[in-house]
Amino acid sequence: MSEQPLFSFRNSWFATSVGVTAAIAVLAALAGLIWLPLAQPDLKLSGIWDAICSAAGVPRVSSQGNAIQPDFKTSNVVMTSEMLTKPNQVSIGRGATLAQRCAICHGPQGVSDANSPNLAGQFAAVTYKELNDFKTGARVNVVMSPFAATMSDQDMLDVAAYYAYLPRVPSNNLDPKVAAPAIVTIGAPMRNVPPCGACHGDIDNKAGSPWLGGQSAVYIKAQLHAFASGSRRNDISQQMRNIARQMTSEEIDQVAHYYEAQP
């Protein structure tokens, strides 16, 4: 059965199978490594060799210099879950004195009647971060920014410790019967919104997320709209902006009233 040696181009089985296989491989390589990458304008290739390297997956160092800098300030506070969780008596005492200037808006006991946020019982890390962001300009407010501008790092730590030390006082709108809206308990998975309670306390508390119970509904609404529109952007990695953008106005109303009614 060995009329023609198999491994010879005169054997038509050999010639055809090797030829066809090689042709397919070469055409596939030309298309995959050269033609298709060059056909994609977004790749910004400088030539054939560049195309081949890109399609073959050769790792390329991207130059840091070209990175686009944002035209606004971002928060430089590094949050950890341990941060400011061990209160210091001296610090609380100093903070009490410093907080005299805050009382006109935030209330002598850290509870506001003016729709400014209630600070009594707020996590120290949260108050510290906001003050710091006002100082660096990552968060801007006509009233708060000038106050923060003159505070030292120690001042901010002390004030934060003092407010964390004050007991939480329920608001006038306390009503534990208000049912939690779905967005608080289960979020909206199809819109990539996790439950509010997963960070803000009902289910779990994550570092840097403020306690919202008893907070003024007007204030909560204003902040969610500010996150959604991008006028507030000191949230690390856009955590709140990504959520607020996906929320409907009704949901914003619901959560504002729900949290106001909580202890």
Binding site: M1, S2, E3, Q4, L6, F7, N11, W13, F14, S17, V18, T21, I24, A25, L27, A28, A29, A31, G32, L33, L36, P37, I52, S54, A55, A56, G57, V58, P59, A182, I186, P189, M190
Partner: protein, 541 residues
């Protein structure tokens, strides 16, 4: 002329026992993660179970079937006793012991890494050692198949190698080479970490090596089924094989193009360049060719059989087929499942569509339909066909066989159709918990329940299958005659050397592997930054 019947029976029995046990695990998995279960279980058990089920069904069961069937083919097609009987037994015991060695750490919860290994997860070394033993045992079979064919060819220089043997050797070569990928991954990457010699692993490279094995292994599972299509089915229904050459070309195409396409399992992976993904896609498209050839040849063979029996008309011949015959029934049901599974495969192989179903339950639905369905149903048929020749006792419960085959088909459809569907809804695969109370997930609950019901139908069918075989062991003695394979319509007197040997095809297989895998592997091996810390599974317990 089957001489080593005990050897062959040992392979089949062990295969089917492993299959039965893994089937129970499968049904349990279906149940616990469905809404039918009230959640009172330890999710860790789920991953142990999935690891055991996948390793048993993916590695041990089909390998033993291919080996046992391979020995049966060697003796009956070449009409002489197997050469290397002791080696064959050694291979068998390596597989059997390897399976036990692998399953002990898995059942202890020390290696819940799933059958795809998934580095950087690393489990107990004995799991991997067991898997390597299974593979080495099967390599002995690969060598024996090759040696037996070579010696027969030397003794019969003027005769073509019988088709069944040719296809069997094709399958063994395919397996021999494709297993190299996972073997490299285990021996050079995972085992050093599992043994504590190293603490980092290149997970991306490991996935590339695994993909080398992962695609062609499915064709290794498929080859016994295709052999049954070509060489058992036409004979069993009283017809002839439409074309012997077409059959050889199909098996040759599997050898050549099943290998250089595995990167289609890595479409979503960042460590392989888009250009190589494209090249693998092109060859993935080609691999449909042998299947299309097969479907055509088998349908033509069925038509020949029917017309020999007096069937007529453009479609009327279909009704004249011997539908009472379990082999006829199994083949038809298998082709239907192959069709649905192949349609799903087309979606998997297209880069954009795959993105929406990658790592969802769609994938598990897909391979259960095609492997568990189309392929395994032919393993049943092979067992039914071969059993009387192995045991010397007739299998008489034809009604039971037909019920069993129908139940397998129905169970598989009921299981896998909803399974595909929830995958489209986004249900991820390989998770123990799904919170069906969540409004975003609750629409999937009904489909998952359906799948679980299908799982129990499959379990019932599996039990019936074992019942038929066990009953066969007690039936009366009866001489089944010598075991024969289908005769082609035109018996080739001479065939070209290319269709009677493998040198050329193995060269193309290895060459294409180097072309399509060479650069991605070399690059990852050179880059040191691609190593990540290993995650030890079951540590600290």
């Amino acid at each position: 002329m089957l001489t080593n019947k005990r050897l062959i029976l040992a392979h089949f029995w062990l295969a089917f026992i492993v299959f039965g046990a893994a089937l129970v695990l499968g049904a349990w998995q279906m149940f616990v993660r469905s809404p039918l279960n009230a959640w009172h279980f330890n999710p860790e058990f789920y991953y142990r179970s999935v690891t055991a089920h996948g390793s048993a069904m993916g590695y041990v069961f089909p390998t033993l079937v291919a080996m046992g069937f391979g020995y049966a083919i060697t003796e009956s097609a070449l009409e002489k006793p197997l050469i290397g009987r002791r080696w064959a037994w050694a291979g068998f015991f390596l597989v059997a012991i390897g399976a036990v060695v692998a399953m002990i750490p898995v059942s202890l919860g020390l290696a819940s890494v799933l059958y795809t290994f998934y580095p950087p997860m690393v489990g107990n070394p004995f799991y991997y050692i067991g898997v390597v033993m299974v593979v080495v045992g099967s390599w002995i079979w690969v060598a024996l198949m090759s040696i037996n064919m070579a010696i027969w060819k030397r003794e019969n220089p003027d005769k073509p190698v019988p088709l069944a043997m040719f296809a069997n050797v094709a399958g063994s070569y395919l397996w021999g080479w494709t297993a190299v990928g996972a073997a490299l991954e285990i021996i050079f990457q995972i085992l050093p970490v599992a043994l504590g010699l190293r603490s980092t692993i290149d997970a991306g490279l490991a996935r590339v090596f695994f993909s080398w094995t992962l695609h062609a292994i499915v064709y290794f599972w498929l080859i016994p089924t295709y052999i049954a299509y070509y060489t058992i089915f036409p004979r069993a229904i009283g017809g002839r094989l439409y074309s012997d050459a077409m059959a050889r070309i199909s098996f040759i195409l599997f050898v050549v193009v099943a290998m250089p396409i595995g990167v289609h399992h890595l479409f979503a992976d960042p460590q392989v360049g888009a250009g190589f993904k494209f090249m693998h896609s092109v060859f993935t498209g080609l691999v449909a060719l042998p299947t299309l050839l097969t479907v055509f040849t088998i349908c033509a063979s069925a038509e020949i059989a029917s017309r020999l029996r007096g069937g007529h008309g453009a479609f009327g011949w279909i009704t004249a087929l011997p539908w009472q015959n379990p082999i006829m029934l199994a083949t038809a049901l298998s082709l239907v499942m192959l069709g649905f599974g192949g349609a799903g495969g087309l979606i998997n192989m297209s880069y954009q569509l795959d993105a929406s179903i990658h790592n969802t339950q769609w994938i598990t639905g897909h391979f259960h339909l095609i492997f568990g369905g189309a392929i395994v149903i032919m393993y049943f048929a092979i067992a039914y066909d071969l059993w009387p020749h192995l045991t010397g006792r007739a299998l008489e419960s034809f009604g039971l066989m037909r019920t069993q085959l129908w139940l397998w088909f129905i169970g598989m459809i009921v299981t896998t159709f909803p399974w595909h569907y929830v995958g489209i809804l986004g249900m991820p695969r390989r998770m123990a918990f799904y919170d069906y109370a969540n409004p975003a997930i609750s629409p999937q609950a009904f489909s998952v329940v359906m799948s679980a019901v299908g799982g129990f139908i499959l379990l019932l069918s599996g039990a019936l299958f074992l019942t038929v075989l066990i009953r066969g062991q007690w039936a009366d003695n009866s001489e089944a005659g010598s075991y024969r394979f289908a005769i082609p319509l035109h018996m080739p007197a001479r065939i070209p050397a290319a269709l009677n040997s493998f040198g050329l095809w193995l060269a193309l297989m290895i060459g294409l592997t180097v072309v399509n895998y060479g650069y991605p592997i070399a690059q990852l091996m050179v880059l040191k930054e691609t190593n990540v810390p290993a995650v030890y599974v079951g540590a600290g317990r």
